[in-house]
Symmetry: C2
Subunit: 188 residues, 2 copies
DNA sequence: CTTTATATTGAATATAAATTCAATGAATTA
DNA sequence: TAATTCATTGAATTTATATTCAATATAAAG
């Protein structure tokens, strides 16, 4: 069935285009017509695929939720090495698989106030902090991470990453940082 | 002239309210009516004070530009101590002088794509990175900071700060991080 | 080839948000 | 007190954006 495949392709194209634009310019400043133009397709057709702008966002967030959201490291891997590796992957995805990278940034943005409620709640339901808290506590016991409230440390860590990734998404020229630097924020 | 003072008061009230809302929910998702309600005043009156939403933003950015944007540390202060102190101030402003804090966050947001061009250009004209680059190079020579491209390091540093501050602005519950942690990202 | 189903378009409509404006009220001045 | 100026309002207007829809084109099935 070439027809059905075509449709699925188109659907994905819309999702990927919207993802890129949402991350580049923000949800509220991305107009439906911008997405349609960029795909490219007529604005009317876009509504044939997604009932509304909000549903389009929701679908993206659903994809984001099913991804590798949880940061669970097996006990045999040192916490610092795990986080460094995670970031290294993420940063290199920026070029090869912008999809994964953008999704990460989007999920962070959708969690903030002012975003459509349903998408926001959904995004907030996947929680990167809790697993990181465990990881940080393990690191603190092992002496590789400094002392301090692990929840605040985990939150700061991911907010830093979010801030850096948003910049990378907005500015092509920005060079990739060393993951080590960011993990350095936790080291003793 | 009580009349003129009143007007000036009102003007400031509008600016401060808009600043808070822009930072909390983002520029595009803050409606003129939201600002008017929050001040509070009628929407019509708001246009008596500022010609447009964009001009209101521009005025805020102008204020942001005249502030202590440049991070210039005298040579006798160690770079790491200077940055730590700067962040400590900023974070404690979050409660006492939310104005300064919010302004910092706003300037970062306005620099991104999708913001009104005039405000964006103006915000981009104040550049926190260059002074920090010098500071970082000095720190590298002194051996307190690790090696690496100073521009990328400075950019990452401020993006991290931006990410953390945005979270603090959006979520009251978030605890204040230790400035040391963030500077730790630069330490060798 | 004919029929049917579906993709596609672009203009029309609906909705939401920004902006204007005529009218009112309160302070200031003469 | 009367006249004048300016602040203030809320409804009307304009503009921007999301959404719908009738019409057309294209592909699939019989």
């Amino acid at each position: 069935m070439t027809r059905k495949e075509q449709k699925e392709e188109r659907r994905k194209a819309i999702l990927m285009t919207a993802l890129r634009l949402f991350v580049e310019r923000g949800y509220h400043d991305t107009k439906i017509t911008d997405i349609a133009e960029a795909v490219p397709m007529s604005t009317g057709l876009l509504f044939h695929y997604f009932g509304s702008k909000e549903e389009l966002l929701l679908e993206l967030v659903r994809m984001g939720c099913s991804g590798p959201g949880t940061v669970t490291a097996p006990d045999e891997i040192p916490p610092d090495a795990y986080l460094t590796g995670f970031l290294r992957n993420m940063f290199s995805f920026a070029k090869e698989q912008p999809w994964v990278f953008c999704m990460f940034v989007l999920m962070g943005q959708v969690r903030r106030p002012g975003m459509p409620e349903e998408a926001r709640k959904l995004a907030q339901s996947v929680d990167a902090v809790s697993p990181t808290v465990k990881l940080i506590k393990r690191g603190q016991k092992a002496g590789v991470f400094h002392s301090g409230d692990a929840v605040t440390m985990a939150t700061c860590f991911w907010c830093s990453v979010q801030g850096i990734m948003e910049q990378m998404a907005a500015d092509e020229r920005m060079k990739m940082p060393e993951p080590e630097w960011i993990v350095g924020m936790l080291r003793s």
